[in-house]
Point group: C2
Chain length 296, copies 2
């Protein structure tokens, strides 16, 4: 099996494992699947879950697309280059406002000239501050990173903090996690096979991390005011994804399947003019809590 | 009174007139006002109305900002240029899904070298097709345009159709109206005073157009399914404004007041994966109805 096939098979298995795990966790809803093909080559398996006991809306998408580089990328590479891109991308919007939104992505890109890179990450956007959860997530991600290279966690944690900033509001989307892009042998000191090992570790970290967050928070009672705050934070999530997210823009610019790309958008979100939480409320403590800090 | 002052005074009066009219129409809620100042010069009066009988959320904003050109515009003009920009911008999200979202903007920009331009428009984003309303709006706007120049309506109507396209979905935001930008004596055959006359006509057309739409639709009974469709269309409205809208991007890039710029975002919106209306339902007829066509 060549390297590309190995990556693609891993991505498909990862999607299967995560969907199975999430259906068990949810206990009510199951995933529906849409298979799609891309005119210029390749396609994907979009899987969506709705109206669950745990998950209000979620997507776990696999895709493997290939063909000629889209024109807006041809400046960077010789024209006519053939590429392959494959990955799994997840966003889950939970029912309970005390369960965070979670996002995970692992991806691989290669050109037929031999150039390649990996990218991905896991990050968490709660609506409420939670020190125990945040520490545990970051500790888990640090272990995953350290297993490959001890420079990864501090680098990719900082990258995540920078990346998931809602610049126009000078606000963080959440408590971060790890984010990395365009990593390859020349900028990591790991070879391609070792990097695939790292990517597998990141992908496989999703289930235990989400299970932990769910277990801690899914049964917390909540009120209308908590749900309203969740809607406002989801509005910010939509703002980030539509204004800044690279994956979203790349997808929309390459004629990707719109409904698969935008499955990340919330089931229900609100924008309230100049909403200022009650002083000293949990809501008021949320944004300061999101300021980048050392969690490990 | 110099020309700039005349424009600024018109803009302020327009804001006052429209707010008074909307409070009367609403019959319950009133506007709250936030005065703000821009560090680099100028400021504005942001007026917002919420939870009305008619209006679920709306903003009627005036601003007049000035200072040195922001750096991303300095490529286009000699560095250090001083500018003034003033305008009124409105977005109203109604309670009743049969009342369209309406957007109006009139704006004036000048440099101390003497260059200037006007921009603006009125456009309507219903959630449901309505031939009578759409014809009446376009006829009204045609009259407003014809009063200044008979080339305006066909040109600015087509510009509006092009501009308010949600490109990645190949979907129109609504039934259009008129849109124009960077118009001045050299590209309109009108002088600056005459163009201000046109701008005044556009601004003053807002009250009768909205009153007409409200009268026709505010008392229509609606069900949860209609409200859910309105939430989905509002999601598209947010998509357009965050991904494509020039005014939004200009505001965010020039360190504008974020809450004033984003007052256009809906009070509550939803994204449902791959939502496909029932065949032959009113919802299913909406997008085909939005396809650009001659309404006059």
């Amino acid at each position: 099996m060549n390297f590309l096939n190995e990556v693609v098979e891993f991505m498909k298995d990862l999607q299967d494992n995560i969907c199975n795990h999430l259906e068990e966790l949810d206990g009510h809803s199951t995933f529906m699947q849409d298979l799609w093909e891309r005119e210029q080559g390749g396609g994907g398996r979009t899987r969506v879950i709705n109206d669950g006991l745990l998950i209000e809306k979620g997507g776990v998408n696999f895709s493997h697309v290939h063909g000629e580089l889209p024109s807006f990328l041809k400046d960077k590479y010789p024209a006519g280059e053939k590429f392959d891109a494959t990955g799994v991308s997840i966003v889950l919007h939970p029912q309970n406002p005390f369960v965070p939104i979670i996002h995970m992505n692992v991806r691989y890109f290669q050109l037929d000239t031999g150039e390649y890179w990996f990218g991905g990450g896991i990050d968490v956007s709660p609506a409420y501050p939670n020190i125990e959860d945040t520490k545990a997530i970051h500790e888990h991600l640090k272990k995953v990173c350290d297993n490959s290279n001890e420079t990864f966690y501090p680098t990719y944690k900082a990258w995540c903090d920078t990346y998931f900033t809602i610049v126009h509001r000078q606000e963080m989307r959440g408590v971060g996690g790890i984010f990395f892009d365009h990593i390859h042998a020349e900028n990591t000191f790991l070879n391609r096979e070792q990097l695939l090992g790292f990517i597998k570790d990141v992908g496989n970290a999703f289930n235990p991390i989400y299970a932990f967050l769910v277990k801690n928070n899914r049964d917390k009672p909540y009120f209308e005011s908590n749900k309203n705050w969740q809607y406002i934070r989801r509005g910010r999530y939509a703002e980030f994804n539509l204004v800044y997210d690279r994956g979203t823009h790349f997808g929309l610019q390459t004629n990707g399947r719109v409904e698969s790309i935008l499955m990340s958008l919330p089931p229900m979100a609100s924008w309230v003019y100049n909403f200022i939480p009650e002083p000293d409320s949990e809501e008021a403590h949320t944004l300061p809590f999101f300021q980048p800090q050392d969690w490990v």
